[in-house]
Symmetry: C2
Subunit: 335 residues, 2 copies
């Protein structure tokens, strides 16, 4: 079995470990937020962790009344800008905790007196040392170049922060490892052969699943070398929809609450993969991937699993080794 | 001549008109910002206007010390979330000013007591009515479905806001219409035939040109039906670089200050279009598109012009009518 497939399969255990061992650090950060009441939140991240940042924006906005923005590190690292972060909570998210641009933004924020936090798998990393609060992901070593279990752990830690801030949702979180195990078992195998001939894929999701769409597209790019472009269903209708033509496949994440534009999109996309918890949506796809039904705010943690599995199945159908992405190393350092 | 080509050519005049007639509204907004000192800025937009928002983030961060985030309208419209915007400046940007999701976020922000502003081409639109401050774009009616001159006017109005806030840059702005006219003349014609056979394109830019890369990719998708994916050069190295293979074309925007990873990227991308003001970078491309040299903060206003012209040339080389994007209408309303 490949490293990535093994790490996908570890996710229920990894999340259960985070729920058990990670709570103290997260509760401490939540207490600091409640006490200091930051005016806004900035998340700084790259790659899969930037997709976790997209989840943080919707999650903390919907459940906790926090306005969250994603940082543009170039402002600090390329131009020496000093945007005012003094009233902010600044969260760096990174598996390795080494990318210098992510560390630079957290450094600058702390210098200005912002509340800073690092969500990291490696508690001895430069990012962990830069931040006031450290939230360890407890995912264990990740060997595959394409991140899977650390992405899930990032979502899990963010969901725990949301629960700790609001005081509710812990019971729903506790039920999640079992739902993840179901997502690994059904469908038992994914047949992606039908989609193996295309070097292009459009991946759509909105709201909580904006992050899911971006993360699935990234996994497909990393493992199958297919140019997979992610967009929110709403943004897609404001221009990119023009690219759709017969034979261009699309994947839509439609679990939980779905956007009003979904029905009109479904009829425009004939070559379709659907990830959903609803039989009527799955039945309209060329390939329907069922995911367990969970509350909307936790849906990205289960809906990503069939997406990860689809990426691996697509790589294999294309005759590729999903553990050896072209041009990539496990740790990428950008400045 | 097509509507889009005519509107691309109008851009020097359109920007000169904005500089002449738009200043009072922008100075009034700047005075309000200086007086009220919002803790952060949120921009809400869709399509090309969302790319103008990407410019706003870097521009106001680098030149004005403001932290800018891009809104996720779904938080409000899909889930009924009420993220705290009370300490913010919330800017809606839209050509038409009608998309209900953009209006909903500005409505919610104003209800909470935020400073609100609408950057719109249509001053009678719902978005203009929703906001406290209106900044008219003075671009005149836009007939082509793919926005060009209104995107440029949005960048121009944001650059004017930055100049008004900082008190400097007006002389550099005043010189810009002449630079735009140069960008329309050189190169005199763009030969995109070499790239017409590919249905995929990667478009890269960072910092100020993050916006330029996204806007060029959107124009290519809208007019040439090529799946053009934009990324920052840094994000690209954190995963998507795996898609690169012989024959997959890339376009890099490398005008003004360029990121440290650029040299290593150039050698990895053989089938390359470069937009730059530097001869040594242009000489390394299969197709080099020179743009005028201007200060970094204004470079997106001139570098977009060869990008727009490349998109139109590519559409024609693919035998398409760039005025008739498949599946699109001029005004898109999403909720």
């Amino acid at each position: 079995v490949s490293a990535i497939a093994a790490e996908i399969a570890e996710q229920p255990d990894s999340l259960a470990r985070l729920l058990r061992d990670g709570r103290d650090e997260i509760d401490a950060l939540a207490a600091r937020i409640v006490e200091a009441r930051p005016a806004f939140v900035v998340v700084v991240a790259r790659g899969s962790s930037d997709n976790a940042a997209r989840y943080a924006q919707v999650l903390l906005g919907v459940r906790n009344g926090l306005t969250v923005g994603l940082a543009a590190p170039s402002i600090v690292t390329l131009y020496g800008g000093r945007p005012d972060l003094s009233g902010a909570l600044v969260v760096g998210i990174s598996q390795s905790g080494v990318s210098p641009d992510v560390v630079a933004v957290v450094d600058e924020a702390r210098r200005q007196g912002a509340i800073t936090a690092a969500f990291v798998n490696d508690a001895a990393s430069p990012l962990a040392r830069a931040a006031e609060h450290v939230v360890r992901l407890h995912a264990g070593p990740e060997r595959a170049v394409a991140a899977t279990k650390t992405y899930l752990a990032e979502l899990g830690a963010l969901a725990m922060l949301s629960a700790s801030l609001s005081g509710h949702g812990w019971d729903e979180l506790a039920a999640l490892p079992a739902r993840l195990a179901e997502a690994l078992e059904e469908p038992r195998a994914i047949d992606a052969a039908r989609f193996a001939g295309s070097k292009r894929l459009v991946v759509l999701g909105r709201g909580f699943h904006y992050a899911t769409a971006f993360e699935i597209a990234l996994k497909v790019k990393e493992t199958s070398y297919v140019l997979a472009e992610a967009a929110s269903t709403a943004d897609f209708l404001h221009g990119p929809v023009a690219v759709m033509e017969e034979g261009l496949p699309a994947l839509i994440v439609a679990a939980g609450r779905t956007p009003p534009e979904l029905p009109s999109l479904l009829v425009r996309l004939p070559e379709l993969v659907v990830i959903s918890d609803r039989a009527e949506l799955l039945g309209r796809a060329a390939l329907g991937l069922r995911c367990p039904s969970v509350p909307d705010w936790l849906s990205p943690l289960v809906a990503i699993v069939p997406g990860q599995r689809f990426a691996v199945a697509l790589a294999r159908a294309r005759g590729l080794d999903p553990d050896a992405p072209r041009g990539l190393t496990k740790v990428t350092e950008t400045t």
